[in-house]
C-alpha cells in the first residue's frame, strides 16, 4: 500500500495540499481526476520526489513516469530511449505490443504525436520501478487513439502488475478504466473516491459548486 499522510504543500501563500491523506492500492490503476490547478501534477511530483513537501509518503521506492510532454531524448532512437531507463528491456517486443514494430531505429522527430506518446508509455512500462505515474498521458490525442491507448495501458498494467497512478481531467477517460477514481478539488480536498464510477456521476461531481 502506498500511503500519503498529513501532506502539506504550498506555493508561496497558496496551499495546494493541506494535511492531505490518501492510500493507494498496489498492482492496480488509480485515476486522480480534477480540474486544472487542483494539484494533480503536484501530487505526482511529490510521489516522484521532484518537489519538496511536508508530511510522509510510504511504500514508494522507485518510480517511472509518463510526462505531459513526452520527454523523449531527441538524439536517441526509439530503442535507445527505452534502453536508457532499462538496459535489459525487451524493447522490440514491447514496441510490438503497442503496434510499433519496426519503429526501433526511428528518432523522436520522425514519430507522429500518437507514436511518440506510445513510446513514452512503453519506456515507462519497461522501467523496473513498481510504481508508474502518468501525468495526463492521453491529452491532445484524438478520441480513437485515446481509447486505443487506454486499452493498451490496461493490458500493459495487467501484464506487468505495476501500480499505476494516472492523473486526468477527462471524465470519459476516468470512467473508461472502470477502476478506482479519486476526484480532488483545489486545496487537495477529496470529493469522491469510488470504484467503477459512471461518467455522469464524475461530471456531476466535478461541476458541483460551479454556476453554469
Amino acid at each position: 500500500m502506498i500511503s500519503l499522510k498529513n501532506i502539506t504543500k504550498k506555493y508561496g501563500d497558496k496551499t495546494v495540499f493541506g494535511n492531505f491523506d490518501l492510500d493507494i492500492e498496489e498492482n492496480a490503476i488509480t485515476v486522480i481526476l480534477g480540474e486544472s490547478g487542483s494539484g494533480k501534477t503536484t501530487l505526482l511530483n511529490m510521489l516522484a520526489r521532484l518537489t519538496d513537501f511536508d508530511g510522509e509518503i510510504s511504500g514508494v521506492d522507485k518510480v517511472s513516469m509518463v510526462f505531459q510532454r513526452d520527454r523523449l531524448v531527441p538524439h536517441l532512437t526509439v530503442k535507445e530511449n527505452i534502453l536508457l531507463v532499462n538496459e535489459n528491456a525487451a524493447a522490440s517486443a514491447l514496441l510490438e505490443s503497442v503496434g510499433l514494430s519496426g519503429a526501433e531505429d526511428l528518432y523522436p522527430k520522425e514519430l507522429s504525436a500518437g507514436m511518440a506518446r506510445r513510446v513514452a508509455i512503453i519506456r515507462a512500462f519497461s522501467s523496473p520501478a513498481p510504481l508508474l505515474l502518468m501525468d495526463e498521458p492521453l491529452v491532445n490525442l484524438d478520441l480513437a487513439l485515446k481509447f486505443s491507448l487506454l486499452e493498451q495501458i490496461k493490458e500493459l498494467q495487467g501484464a506487468t502488475g505495476k501500480t499505476v497512478i494516472m492523473v486526468s481531467h477527462d471524465v470519459k477517460e476516468a470512467a473508461y478504466y472502470n477502476g478506482r477514481v479519486i476526484v480532488i478539488k483545489s486545496g487537495g480536498k477529496v470529493v469522491l473516491d469510488e470504484k467503477k464510477v459512471s461518467e455522469e456521476k464524475l461530471t456531476e461531481t466535478l461541476l458541483k459548486g460551479y454556476k453554469i
Binding site: L50, R71, H75, V85, A129
Partner: protein, 250 residues
C-alpha cells in the same frame, strides 16, 4: 543530401575563392607595382620559397604551439567559469564584472605593457587569452544553458545514473556547440597570436617573419604569410565543423 546540393557545396566556395583571386589579379595589374600589390603569381612564388625555408617551419610551428597553449588555457578556464555560472546564479553574477573588464581591455596597449612586464614569448599568449576567453565563456555558457532541464528531470525520475546521463543525454546536447566554439576560438586565437607576435617581436614566430618582410619591403612574402595564416585558420574551422557535424549525428 542531393547530388546537386553536394556539387553546389563544393562549387560555390571555389567560385568565391576564384572571384577573390580574380579581383586581386585585376588590382595588381592596375597598380602595376610589386612594392604595393604583388601579383598572385609572385605571391605564390614567395609562398613556395617559404616552404623551402627551415626558418618558416620554426616560425609556423612556434606560432601554432603558442596558439594551442593560449587556446587550451582559455578553453579550460572558460569551461570552468561557464560551468560555475551555469550551476550558481551567485557565481554568474560574481563573474560578470570580470568578463566585462577583460573584454573591455585595449588589446594593443595591453600587448605593449605585457612585453615590458613579461617576455616577448609570453605576452602574445596572455593577450590572445584575454581576447578569446570572454568569447569562449559566452559560447560555452550558452551551450550549457541550452541543456534541456526536462530531460534531466526525466533521467532523475527514472534513476538514470549520473555517468549514463552525461554520456547519453547531456554530452550529445552540448557537444556540437562545444566543438564549434573550439574551432572558432582556435582560429581567432591564431589570428590574434600573429598580430601580438608582430607587436611583441617574438623570435621564431610568424609575426616576426611578417615584421622582417615589412622592413625589407618584401610585400609578396608578407602576403604569402597572410595566406598561410588564412589557410591554417580555415583548415582548423573545417576540421572542427566536421567534428561538430559528427557529434550531432552521434
Amino acid at each position: 543530401m542531393k547530388t546537386r546540393d553536394k556539387v553546389l557545396n563544393i562549387a560555390l566556395p571555389l567560385a568565391s575563392v576564384a572571384v577573390i583571386f580574380g579581383l586581386w589579379a585585376l588590382a595588381a595589374r592596375a597598380v602595376n607595382s610589386e612594392y604595393v600589390l604583388p601579383t598572385v603569381g609572385d605571391t605564390f612564388s614567395a609562398l613556395f620559397g617559404l616552404f623551402k625555408s627551415a626558418d618558416f617551419y620554426r616560425a609556423f610551428f612556434g606560432t601554432l604551439f603558442r596558439s594551442v597553449i593560449a587556446f587550451a588555457i582559455s578553453y579550460a578556464l572558460a569551461f570552468l567559469f561557464a560551468l560555475s555560472a551555469y550551476k550558481s546564479e551567485k557565481a554568474k553574477r560574481a563573474l560578470k564584472p570580470i568578463i566585462i573588464i577583460i573584454r573591455a581591455l585595449p588589446t594593443i596597449a595591453v600587448v605593449l605593457l605585457l612585453v615590458l612586464w613579461t617576455s616577448s614569448k609570453v605576452a602574445p599568449i596572455i593577450v590572445t587569452f584575454l581576447v578569446v576567453f570572454p568569447t569562449l565563456y559566452n559560447n560555452l555558457y550558452a551551450a550549457l544553458s541550452g541543456i534541456d532541464k526536462d530531460l534531466n528531470e526525466m533521467c532523475k525520475v527514472f534513476g538514470v545514473s549520473g555517468k549514463k546521463r552525461l554520456k547519453k543525454v547531456v554530452f550529445p546536447q552540448i557537444a556540437p556547440e562545444f566543438i564549434s566554439a573550439a574551432g572558432a576560438g582556435l582560429t581567432l586565437n591564431l589570428k590574434l597570436m600573429v598580430a601580438a607576435e608582430v607587436l611583441s617581436q617574438t623570435a621564431r614566430s610568424m609575426g616576426y617573419l611578417l615584421n622582417t618582410s615589412k622592413i625589407y619591403f618584401e610585400i609578396s612574402a608578407m602576403l604569402a604569410l597572410v595566406l598561410v595564416t588564412v589557410v591554417t585558420g580555415l583548415m582548423i574551422e573545417w576540421a572542427f565543423a566536421f567534428m561538430a557535424k559528427k557529434a550531432v549525428k552521434g
